[in-house]
């Protein structure tokens, strides 16, 4: 998953077209027998040539080739010339990209934007009525708005809880006489980070300071290791050969640094106005996919919590975050691909049932208690969910 910064509200959010999914159905051939919903666009420095200015309602594919010498973009705009129904950007010279978009009957504009400036080279575009195109669901926009609001609230809530627990954790750790409490709180506080990890680690400056594992640090190149896992090693030094415990002063330095960075993270997540983070449907869906990727890449291998072995707490938290993000767009998905929604709901439940087998008291068994057989079963369950989940973004954004 790409770790790009989320857009602030100032940026244009692409809103999926308000239409139910319609696969290219038979009977929609153009006069030459080709697929009337597959269009080509040639974008040059001064022209925007479409293979046709009319197409039947449904899922349209615009294959956009840049024949000019500047980077170009292609837009399908609503009849008002403002609403972006779909866009494809960053098409380098001589390259081709596809825009797949669900368009109900109506009047539109197409626009090529060579050089990525101005309002582009525009032309009217008509989507005609067809019998097989399903009725537009007027509630889709509501579903989208609701999903975006809910997800923002979820991320903000988790971030706030992370901050509170990090404060407590840092206090315990710094005091020097409450290591047991610190150890107990460590996986619990980190759950809040792991639930929103794809958002948290999108801040490329904060992530390496707070969540770097020892193996990620290039000590030979002079990098310094700070954050959660630095403190983790100090609290669980049993497996660390020849480890020298941190002094009281060093403890304070690492603890304060963690808290400052967590405060900064929370500030950015809670920001309002022009600095507020927004989560598009694509961001939310990608967030769900990304959290499962975190499970596959780090937690299931026991590499995340190399000293405390509390990887299953992180595992559960990643799954929590992925499920919440999925459930946020589930309503929308049901209008577009009900079968996928059903499959995902089932696979999330199956993974949870498996994870529940490893609960121990308030938390989980340690990673070191897992057998090869256990990790194989977990991997299978993660694969079974991740594969269909990887289709989520394309499904909800079409």
């Amino acid at each position: 998953m790409r770790k790009t910064l989320l857009a602030s509200v100032a940026a244009l959010a692409v809103v999926p077209a308000l239409a139910a999914c319609t696969e290219n159905a038979s009977g929609d051939r153009d006069e030459k027998g080709g697929n009337a919903r597959a269009l080509t666009v040639s974008s040059s420095g001064d022209a925007c040539e479409l293979s046709t200015s009319e197409a039947p309602a449904g899922t349209l594919t615009f294959e956009v080739t840049n024949t000019g010498s500047d980077v170009t973009e292609f837009y399908l705009l609503g009849g008002d010339g403002l609403r972006i129904v779909g866009e494809v950007e960053n098409i380098g010279p001589n390259l081709t990209k596809k825009l797949t978009v669900n368009a109900p009957e109506g009047e539109y504009f197409t626009a090529c934007k060579p050089g990525m400036v101005g309002e582009g080279i525009r032309a009217a575009f008509t989507v005609t009525h067809t019998e097989d195109a399903q009725e537009v669901s007027a509630s889709d926009q509501e579903l989208i708005d609701q999903a975006q609001d809910n997800y923002r609230a979820y991320v903000q809530d988790q971030s706030a809880q992370l901050l509170v627990r990090t404060r407590d954790f840092v206090e315990f750790y710094k005091s020097g006489n409450a290591d047991d409490q610190a150890r107990q709180l460590y996986p619990v506080a980190r759950e809040h980070w792991e639930r929103i990890e794809t958002v948290a680690e999108s801040f490329g400056d904060l992530d390496p300071k707070t969540d770097a594992r020892e193996a990620d640090v290039d000590f030979a190149a002079g990098e310094e290791w700070t954050g959660w896992h630095r403190i983790e090693k100090d609290l669980w030094p049993q497996d660390a050969k020849g480890y020298t415990a941190l002094t009281e002063q060093e403890r304070a330095t690492y603890a304060d640094d963690l808290l400052v960075n967590t405060e900064e993270l929370d500030q950015r997540i809670q920001a309002t106005g022009a600095d507020a983070l927004t989560y598009s449907i694509t961001d939310i869906a990608n967030g769900s996919i990304g959290l499962l990727e975190e499970v596959a890449n780090g937690k299931i291998t026991g590499e995340e919590e190399a000293w405390s072995h509390t990887d299953l707490w992180d595992f559960q938290a990643n799954v929590d975050g992925a499920r919440v993000a999925y459930e946020g767009v589930q309503g929308l998905l049901e209008t577009k691909d009900a079968a996928l929604a059903e499959e995902l709901t089932g696979k999330f439940a199956a993974l949870q049932t498996l994870l529940d087998e490893y609960r121990d008291g308030e938390g989980f068994v340690l990673y070191t208690a897992l057998t090869k057989d256990d990790t194989k079963k977990m991997t299978d369950a993660v694969n079974a969910l991740s594969e269909p989940l990887s289709k989520l973004t394309a499904a909800v954004a079409s």
Partner: protein, 407 residues
């Protein structure tokens, strides 16, 4: 790239016949073992690899030299399609094991090349001993590579006192070569690790098309190629004055190997657009995202809608000569699949092989840049690495590395 074809002569001199790509029914090419340079470096990359790293178990210099002589003889025989030993697989005494193992008996040479390299441990062992009286000739740059961030190196897949790279278009021919050379070495050397590669991931000649790695992308488009004589002198061959202690290495090269596991299953779930952003090229043609065709130079300054159109962490940018002080390397890696791991994932990736003039300028900074800022790192796990000094070619009547032991 596009270097003049005329300069190819110097490096093509060792070749017996023309075709670079052998298809069934086509005339078979072979390369002689002896020559000014070792073959298997600028030789048009063959399709298959068997690579072995060995440790020397003796302290006896004469025994080591005797082995290098025996290896030279066997390599010279096998690269021309003959048996490893002078008798052969079926022509010897019935009451003795044959001096060739026989599995290549009916096979053509398949463009087999055998390339030898010397690791740091040959000069000074782990306890600091100069076992063979060559410590003072150890090249300055021949030091154990540092660990890079994100590395999960396994000792059993790293380092080695010696290495042998066997490349051929038929995997059985490459395996046959390593198997017989290892056999000859028993009592003097022990195998530390070995690696099979089933598909080349680089082109080392402009006559070859760019192959794909297991991410599905064309790889090594910007490789130094055999036809670029000046670039080879600047970036691949050790110069005569590079290291006064190691004059024996002049005209040779350094060989870096990195076993790069790919997290295949996770990669496969990335959207096409994300994959292309990680790499910085299109998956179809291999054109840079700044446009054009495969061999169009990437335009790193070209703006996209949010930041440069080739992202700052795209692989093509991070390792490109333009942002690495002009440094280029000759890559000669192979795709590998070593079955599946214990949770059912493919144990697969790219066995990175690069030949370069000096690891301190041509590899360590590049790998450091990649480890710290390459978007692909999320999908890579480095499980082994090694560095070897590759002596220049072996003249007729000489043995490999002779200048190191007898100059």
């Amino acid at each position: 790239m596009g270097a003049a074809a005329g300069v190819a002569g110097a490096f093509a001199a060792g070749r017996l016949s023309a075709p670079d790509t052998v298809k069934s029914g086509a005339p078979v090419a072979s390369y002689p073992f002896h020559g000014a340079r070792q073959s298997g470096i600028v030789t048009p990359a063959q399709d298959r690899l068997h690579f072995v790293a060995l440790d020397v178990t003796t302290d006896d210099r004469d025994q080591l030299v005797a082995l290098l002589k025996a290896w030279t003889d066997a390599a010279a025989r096998m690269t021309t399609g003959r048996s490893a030993g002078p008798v052969g697989a079926v022509d010897g005494a019935g009451n003795a094991p044959p001096d060739d193992t026989g599995e290549a008996l009916d096979l053509p040479p398949s463009r087999l090349t055998i390339t030898f390299g010397f690791g740091p441990g040959l000069f000074t062992d782990a306890d600091g001993n100069d076992r063979f009286g060559i410590a003072e000739r150890r090249p300055d740059a021949l030091e154990r590579l540092p660990r890079f961030s994100g590395d999960v190196l396994e000792p059993a897949r790293s380092d080695g006192d010696l290495c042998i790279q066997a490349c051929a278009d038929d995997p059985q021919v490459a395996v046959h070569a390593i198997r017989n050379l290892v056999r000859i070495g028993f009592g003097t050397t022990t195998v530390r690790w070995s690696q099979l590669g089933f598909g080349r991931t680089s082109t080392t000649s402009t006559s070859q098309s760019t192959p794909r790695n297991l991410f599905g992308f064309k790889d090594g488009t910007a490789n130094v190629k055999a036809e670029e004589a000046a670039a080879l002198d600047t970036h691949v061959w050790v110069g005569a004055d590079d290291d006064p202690r190691a004059a024996w290495l002049a005209g040779g090269s350094y060989l870096v190997t990195r076993r790069i596991n790919m997290t295949i299953e996770v990669w496969d779930r990335q959207s096409l657009e994300a994959q292309e952003q990680f790499v910085g090229r299109t998956k179809g043609t291999g054109a840079p995202l700044s446009g054009g065709e495969e061999f169009t130079d990437p335009d790193f300054a070209m703006a996209g809608s949010a930041g440069p159109i080739i992202p700052v962490d795209a692989h093509v940018r991070v390792v490109h000569p333009e942002v690495n002080e002009g440094v280029r390397i000759l890559r000669r890696g192979y795709n590998f699949v070593d079955g599946s791991n214990d949770v059912g994932g493919l144990d697969a990736g790219l066995f990175f092989i690069a030949y370069l003039r000096d690891p301190r300028t041509h590899f360590i900074p590049l790998q450091r840049a990649m480890s710290s800022s390459d978007a692909l790192m999320e999908y890579l796990r480095f499980t082994g690495q090694a560095l070897f000094a590759v002596p220049p070619g072996t003249g007729e009547g000489e043995y490999v590395g002779q200048a190191l032991f007898e100059a």
